[in-house]
Each structure stands twice: as structure tokens, then as C-alpha cells.
Symmetry: D2
Subunit: 337 residues, 4 copies
């Protein structure tokens, strides 16, 4: 059993903890959190040993009636690998801690690519992370783009990618974030950072991305254009994507018009937290005009990187190859709507 | 086993179906739906026999690859009781069908009180529905108000209730509903219909309600004022409410500031669909000024009536008294956060 | 003086009425409306003769204390030209009325291109409408795209246009429209109708468009990609656009991050209704990668077609050429932020 | 002519500047701002001398091409009175500056009541500010409540006020503020600070207030309950309110359902920035049940305090009594829709 520590028990960390626990070859050694709140309560309720990410705050947990197992350093020391799921920039601060205890670490997409040995997407470059010490699982948007681009590169060749990423302003519980009633170019300069980020996965890819921010909380939406190296029929792309385990093609007859109904479907289907680990591609939207492919895909910012973190654990610990890891992760979670 | 038919498999119907299935003394005989969509798919996936609510549309289901068990009349005929969970006004149209087959029926709060023998809230007037043929489970807002008022009446006496109901504009999947950026008096006339509706449960209650509609989808929020018959300390009210199984007092240390984090907590806790069957009362908000009690409570419009429907089934079929039914329902669903 | 009738006094009609009145060579003969409301009140307050678009409803206006000048047919008969600003599809129904009185007519972008002799954008094809009887002023989005594309075609040649149109769900007063919290592919099929609509202005243009709908009310936002026939420096595009009277380049030092601050700037500057008649192009966003040009532009759905309607009046009545008309319109309205 | 300095040229300051300029007995000596942006540009365009609120930042204005008239201290020194329209808490920091130059000052409602000699609402306690040196114009919500309560106290006597204030999350240009999709008790404790704030105007009033925050930007909405000292017919209240110059009764026949259409009406009517200086009371909502009065009123957070600031200038400078000041302000601005 791979002993996994999870540092940061918020949106991503709590999902990674549940996903790790569901794997046949892993166990959650403990989770670390900076302050008591409803998430800390459920960590305790689920039986995850809870560590104080900031030692001086142990009192706050005690005041809330929450038992602390110890300081985070103890957890890092005992683990085979740590998944850092702290907010952007904190991962970089934590790196020296992981190095001190010689524990390999995964970081999330908010960290800089230069922090790590390699950036990671299971479908695209699993092998690059094998036996690496510091690996960055790329962001939700970069993960979503990589999953769609990888099979297209293999099957048809990709000349150029142009994508507009219409991003949710905040997650459902992030009540201090806006905008309330606006559509913001974000960043206003072009290209956005997402294109270069995808190039950490595919270093020879030609991609330009534009970002916006809108008053929605459920999912990001990508308007994706890929100029292929050959003219392709839309049906071929639908078939190609149909074989990808982390692409979900939304069929027309489901009458799912956006992320609200999509999440409702996931909840109805019994998905934990209504998570949509796959790219959600509207099947009807897949269209080709000559060599230009167009489509819409919804990206669930809270969960699409979760299976990627699980796979990255196996890559870094050298415990499975890409195919075996992806299959095991998918089966354990129930990926494939 | 009580054989339950569910006519209407949308927001309420699908939740009632799952809740009925979870009971030790009931089974779902089948569910009826008017058109194929993602909900019809999950009905099939869950093994609920699917009936066509509109016989002429059986073809549409076939075209979507969904097997139909038969016309809705067959289902009504075979059932001990039917739960009508169709949109407002359709229940009234369906009444003659239920009468034709002599099957007792529950209706939802969108129907008129005059349609039925009695309106129903398990905590407040379970006995009124015993052996009735046509019972209306009151709306989500009326249910929420009744649950808070009932114990206050018993413990302290209620002189007058004034409530402002700030209502979500639509459910998460209802993308055609607004407003996008407004706060609407709705209805603009005062009192709103909610007050008289609460009086179908407590016929001697003095209550005035005001309604608004805002651009949110997750829950309604009530600003509640109850003038009691005696001056009471807030702590007494907190204690009183703490004993009510369908009131959840949100503790301060959970750092839950609104319905977004509340739903996230419910999802983290493993609640199906993140449903919050209880009134969610902010514990910190419970305050008294002389005989005036004030509080905020969140009402989950999609689910708070679900346990009430289950209890109403037992009332109508005479299979348990209030206390036993509520206890069984609560245990089967896991009510009590 | 050109005698102008305006049939439909809502979002577009009331703005066209004010704009026509501001012209030195035009007068508003009257405006027609289907029902009394706050807009009808201001029509009276502004001294526009008010006609009943539906004769049988004259009573309703009387009940609201509003004097009706007569039936709409009288107005059409007396006018040199009618601007039909009725909702989509009603313009087509009205065409026979205009033909009956032999009055030339302008229609809005919601009507079908096949209804008219020519579609119209002042910057791009003014001459096509000279002496035509039935002319369609293209929609807000098509107007915005045409204004940006026309100078690029002339200066550099355009190989292909790809645009993602992120559209506001409804106007500020349209409280029944959603979505409240979603990002909808709309239409989900690709390309959207906008591309073909732009081709009614440039019949040899290669353009693919994708549409979305989001919970915002103020403006649409376009993510625009134009593959030019030659590689161009972004500065050249900024210079080119700087010379266009109906493109407003938002300078960086204004710190305008979206449509909220943009509208606030327009209101501060004294613009009537805060209208932004120009395309609002974020100057910082104008970027080139080889022959690919990218930019963000905000399109004010309520007003960008207003100066176009004014110019179309001059084209149809043959009273000025493009250059003179555009200059007159711009000066009379104060176009050019 | 009263020489007025305005320190802070944002949402409130820029409106006060325009309102002061419109008065026959006042002039704007200059406005001070902390950083260049679109508002600074329009200050220059309108011919208001622009002072640097933070002397070290003069360079930033120069870089943006904006001429600075001097440091804010110079402006304060030369003025008869300064209107401090800086963000909450900054006014308190500025007080010593105003004292240093012996210039009387107005502050906004975000400052603490203890900072000043008196809090101010023109309709309710104009006289208290006569010849005071430091006066606080109460917040938008307190202003709105005071205007409604004052005539009720005089005509019928007020036993108790209960109000739920459903507040917009941010102004239209405040894109970093949320929530996006939530209804927040805010503050979660009861009563909110608004009640005590109203008591700075009416020191013997019994009032309890509850606050919420929702995803809307246009206006606040109050659900107001006033228990009067005698039973009153709703028509009497409508008549009473009809005589109040700063209460606008929205008539039913205008078909205005919320703040979106209300603002549109104000814009159509030519109001600068679409400002609604009056409380907007839905006439249909005014209802009585025994001694309980209920109504809905919209409060335009950006502008309802503007005429109050103008009146406070006259009170502090002793240049007119309440009746004369209010009449002059109303006429100069065009108050009374």
C-alpha cells in the first residue's frame, strides 16, 4: 500500500483524499489543514487523521472540538508521497519541507512549472513523471485541453489550437468572489497563460488561448478550435473521442443544455459531490469545416484533476504504467458516465 | 410493503422515489414521466419501471432507447398510493385519474388547498391526513415555516409571525428562468400567498409574509420574526430547536456563510444530491428582543418536502403514527446533519 | 426633413426615436407601441405622438391616462420611411402593411435576411441600400463583427474569421430571462447563425462563429480571431482601428476591466442611457501571432445598431452618401468616446 | 457661493460634485482622487480641478496624461466645506486634516457615528447639523429607512419597525465582489447594524433590522414592517407618502417589476447616470393589517445620499433652513419622477 499524505484539505485535497482511499493500492495516512471549519469536521467524521498545517493553530482546532493527530511535518515524514493541495503559491513554500524529509511530492496547477521536474497529464505524458521527485499536476483547464488534444495529435496531427476559456468566477462556496454581473476579459492580454501551460505537456504544440471570467460557479466552458493536419469528418472525431475514457460525450437525447443539468445528471447518477471527472463534450457540437474542428466542452474545475493526481502518485512511485494506472483509477472511481 | 406509484419524475419525483425505496415498509412500483431526458435515463439505470405519463409519447422514449413499462393508468391501478409530483396545476388535472382507479393520492404544494381533504406537514398535523384520500404536502416554504412555528407554538405560544421569503429564481438546471441581476418583489402585493398557505396547517395562526425573488439557485432564505406570547431567552429557543429532528442548527465554528458552503457540507457528508431535508437555521442568528424572536433559515426547495411525502404515505395508508413514521423516515434517509 | 415613423417603442425603438430627433435632417412623426408601460409614459413626456400598434388596445392606453394619436396605419401612411423595431418575427408580419401604404421600411436583425432587398451595415455596404424599399439593419453582434472586419479586409485582406460570442442572457429589464448560474453553449451546434449573418454583409467571407449565453445583462463579449492574408504587427491594427469612428479603443490607463466599468464610464461621460454605440475594443488585447490577430470587444446589444438605423434611413431615402451620413450621425449623437 | 471641496471622487464623490455644481448657491472648488482611472479622466473633462489625494502619486496622474492642480491640503485650506467621500474608515483618518485647516466637513455613512457632532438626514433632523463642524450623512440604507419613517412618526406614531434589508453584493463596476450565486445572511447576527444607525437619527425609535446580501448590483430592496400607534388604511399611507418629495411611488400601470426596469425608466427619463435619488416604493405593495404597515422599497445605493449631502452643506454653513434647502436641491437636480 502506498502511504499518501495530503497537505491541504480544501476543494481539491478533500476529493483527492476520497479518491486515494478508493484505490486498491493506496491508503490515506493523514490530511493537513490550516483552520477548523466544516471540511475539517468531515475529515474527522470520515476517519482521516487530521494534522495541523500551521502548528501554532492547534488550539483553534481544539476550541472547535477537533482532535489533531500532530504537526504536518510528522505526516510528511511518515508518508511515501505527499499530495500538496494548498492554494496557489503555497506549494512552492512547502517544497523545502518535502525535501527536508526526502518525501516526493505532487503539486497542483497553480504552482509554477519551474518548481518541478515535470508537469503531468496522465493521458499525455505519464512516463515523464516516473521516478520524478517533484511533479506538477496541471490545472483543470490545462488538463481538459490536454485530454482533448492528445488523441487528435495521435490520430490526425494538429497544426494549431485556438481556444476561448470562459471561466467560472468562483466555486459554489467562494462567496467573496465575483463578478456578479459582468463578462471580463481575464486576462485582458492575449494569449492567456493557459496556452503556454498546455505547452508544458506538449512542447511542440502551437496553441493560442483567450480567457474570460463570468458570473457562474459550476464549470468552465471551452470553445475549442483545432486546425488538424488533414480534413476530417466530424463523425470520425466523435468515434475517436468515444474511445477516450476521460472524455464524456453528452448525447443529444439527454437534453442537457449546460452545466446545471450536467451536474444534476451526475448527482442523479450517484457521483460523489456530483463530480464530473471527465471532460464533458457536447456531442452535437463536434463539427468540422475543412481541417478546422470545433467543439464545446465543460470542465469541472473542482474535480477533473482528481484522477490525474491519483495516476501521478503511481507514476512517481513507479508502481504502475500509464495504461494500468488509468484503468485502476477509472474502475475505483467509476469514471465513465 | 406499501406499493407506491410516482407520477412525475423531475426534481421532486426522483427524490421521492429514492426516499421511498430507502424505507423498510415501502416499494416503488414505478415512475411516470412525460418525456425522455437524462432523468428518464437514470430512472432506468436505477431499475425503476418507467411509465409514459402521456401515452402518445411512448415513441419518443423508444427513439431515445428507453423501455416503457406501460401507460400511467396501469401504474395507478396497481398502486396502493400515488405520489403526484407533476408541475403546479397538473396535479389537479390528474385527480380524476386517481379517483377512477380509487387510488389515494398525494399532491405537491403547487396545487390548490381546495383540491384536497387536507394539507400536510408531518411535524404539525400528521393526524389530519390519516385515512384521507387526497392530501397535499405543502410547499417547501410552507414546510419550512411550519417546522419552525410548531415547536414555538407548543413551548411559548405565538402571537404573530412576520416573514420575508427571499426565494431563489430557479433551480440549478432551470436555465430559462431569471432574474439575472435583480431583486424582485414577488409578488409585489402583500401579504404573499405563503402566509395563507401556512394557515392551512395552523388555522388560527396570525401570519403575514412577503416574497422576493433573487438571482440564486441553491436555496431560499427566510428572514423570520415571531412575536411570542412571552419573553424568551435566545438560548431557550436554541435548546428547543436543538431537539427538533428536522431543524439543523448551523454551528458558528463550521464557518458556513450561506447556501453554497451549506450544500458543499452536505455533499462532503455524503448526502445524496447534496440534499438538505432539514430547515438550516443559523444558530448565531437566533436572537430575541423582548417577545420578538428573529432568525435566518435556509430552505432547500428541491428536497425539504421529500421526508414529508414519505410520512404522508404512512398517514394516508394508516400504517404508522406520526412519531413512528418520522423516526423511520429519518433513520432510513439519515436525517440529522 | 425626412419624416420617420417608428413602429415598436422598446429597447431599440426608443433609442432610434431619440437618435432620429437629434439629426438635423430628420423628424419623428410618431411612435407606435402595443401596450402602456413606463416606456409609453416617457414617449408622451418627450412629446412623441403615440400610436396604438394594435388598434383594439387603445382602451388600455386610455385607462393608463395616455393619449393615443391614432392607429399605426395612419402613421405609416404619413411617413417617408418606417423603422420597424418590433420583436423578432413581427417585422415580417408588418411588411404587408408597409407595402400597402408604399412606405419603405427598415427592419431589425431578428428578421430573416430573405425578407428584404438587402442587409445593412453603414461601414461595410451602405451603397447596397440606396433606394431599396426593404432593408434589414443587421443584429448587434453582426454589426459589431462587420465593423471590425471591414477595415481589416481593406487593409490586410482576411483569410478566415473565427469568433466566440459570449452573449448576455437578457437585457437589464428582462427579468424573466436566464440563466442565473450557468454557461450555456447556445446554440450547441456549430457554427452558430452569426457567421452566415455576417456573410449577408460580406458575401465572400470565410467565417465560423460559436455562441454561448451567460448570466450577465450589460453587454456581449466577443473573443475574435482573424487570420489575415499577411503577417501584421499589433500596433498596425491599433492604428488602423484608431481611425475608425465606430470602434472605441479602451486605453489601459482607464482601468476598465469589463462592461460594468465601461458602462459607468459612458454614464459619467453623459451618454444618454449610458449607451455605447461603438464596438468597445480592449486596446491591450489586440495581439498578433504571425497572421493571426486576436482581440476582445464588448458589444452593447441595446444601442450599437442605433446609428446604423439612422444611416440606413439616409441610404434608403437617397439623402446622403455613406461618408456624409456617418459623419452627420456621429456628430449629432456624439459618437467617439 | 459656498466653496465646496470634494475629497474622494468615486461612486459618491463624483455624483456629489455634479449635484453641487447644479446648485445656484454652490461651486466645486476641486476634487481629490487617489489614482488615475476613467473617473479621473471625466473629472478633467468636466473641468473639475483635480487634486492628488496622496501627494506621492502625482506622478501616476502625469503618466496617464492628467494634470494635477495640487495636493489635497491646498484644496481643503481654500474651501468653505469639504465633503469627504472616501471609502469607509478613510474619512476618520482624514478628520485631522480638516481640523488642521479649520474646514468643516461632511462624512459618509461608512464612518462611525462617534466621529462626528451629529448624523444627518435632511427630512428628519436637518436642524441638528446647523453650524456643526463634523457631520455624517447616514448610509444609503439608513437614509432610505429614515425618509419612510419620519412621516409615519409624525402622522400616526410608530411603535416598532422591523426591516429586512436585501442588499446588492456590489455596485455595477465592482467586479471583484460577490456572491455569484448565493443568498447570504449578512451579518448573520441579528439585529444588523442598520437599526442602531437609524437610531442616530431618531434616538427614541424601536427598530430591529436584518441584513442579507445577494448577487445583484442595481439597488437594495427593503421589506419594511412598521407597527403604527393606530390602525391606518393603506390609502392614507399612500396619500401621506405621495406628499413626500423624496419618496417615489411606483404606479402599477408602469409595469415596473424590479430595479432593472426602474433604472431603465430613470435612464429613459434622462436622469444623469440613471440615478434614483428617491426611495422607490412600490405603490401596490403598501398594505396594512391592523396597525401593521408593510411595503417594499428599492434604495439606489449609489445616489440616494447625494441630495442629502447637498442639504448637509447648507445646514453646516447655515445658509438655508430645511424646507428651503430641500426645495432648492430638489429643483436643481430635478427630484420627483
Amino acid at each position: 500500500m502506498i502511504k499518501v499524505a495530503i497537505n491541504g484539505y480544501g476543494t481539491i485535497g478533500k476529493r483527492v483524499a476520497d479518491a486515494v482511499r478508493a484505490q486498491p493500492d493506496m491508503e490515506v495516512l493523514g490530511v493537513a489543514k490550516t483552520r477548523p471549519n466544516f471540511e475539517a469536521e468531515t475529515a474527522i467524521d470520515k476517519g482521516f487523521p487530521l494534522y495541523a498545517a500551521i502548528e501554532e493553530r492547534e488550539d483553534q482546532f481544539a476550541a472547535a472540538g477537533l482532535d489533531i493527530a500532530g504537526p504536518v511535518a510528522e505526516l510528511v515524514d511518515a508518508a511515501d508521497i505527499v499530495v500538496d493541495a494548498t492554494p496557489s503559491g503555497i506549494g512552492a513554500e512547502n517544497k523545502s519541507l518535502y525535501e527536508e524529509y526526502d518525501t516526493p511530492a505532487l503539486y497542483q496547477g497553480g504552482e509554477d512549472a519551474a518548481l518541478v521536474d515535470t508537469s503531468f497529464n496522465a493521458r499525455s505524458n505519464f512516463e515523464d513523471a516516473v521516478d520524478a521527485d517533484h511533479v506538477r499536476v496541471v490545472s483543470c483547464n490545462t488538463t481538459g485541453l490536454s485530454r482533448a488534444i492528445a488523441p487528435l495529435r495521435e490520430a490526425f496531427g494538429v497544426e494549431k489550437v485556438r481556444a476561448t476559456l470562459v471561466r467560472r468566477g468562483g466555486d459554489p462556496g467562494q462567496t467573496s468572489r465575483g463578478p456578479i454581473n459582468d463578462i471580463l476579459p481575464d486576462p485582458v492580454t492575449i494569449p492567456s497563460h493557459h496556452g503556454p501551460d498546455v505547452e508544458t505537456i506538449f512542447d511542440d504544440l502551437d496553441i493560442d488561448t483567450l480567457g474570460m471570467k463570468v458570473p457562474a460557479t459550476l464549470m468552465h466552458m471551452h470553445s475549442l478550435n483545432v486546425t488538424l493536419e488533414e480534413a476530417v469528418d466530424a463523425a470520425e472525431v466523435r468515434d475517436l473521442f468515444g474511445d477516450e475514457s476521460r472524455l464524456f460525450l453528452i448525447p443529444k437525447h439527454m437534453s442537457i443544455d449546460g452545466s446545471g443539468k450536467l451536474k444534476e445528471y451526475a448527482l442523479d447518477a450517484g457521483r460523489p459531490r456530483g463530480d464530473i471527472w471527465e471532460n464533458a463534450v457536447w456531442e452535437e457540437s463536434i463539427s468540422t469545416v475543412g481541417r478546422d474542428l470545433y467543439l464545446f466542452q465543460g470542465i469541472h474545475q473542482e474535480s477533473d484533476v482528481v484522477p490525474e493526481n491519483v495516476d501521478a502518485i503511481r507514476a512517481v512511485t513507479g508502481s504502475a504504467d500509464a495504461e494500468e494506472s488509468i484503468r485502476t483509477t477509472n474502475e475505483a472511481l467509476g469514471i465513465g458516465l
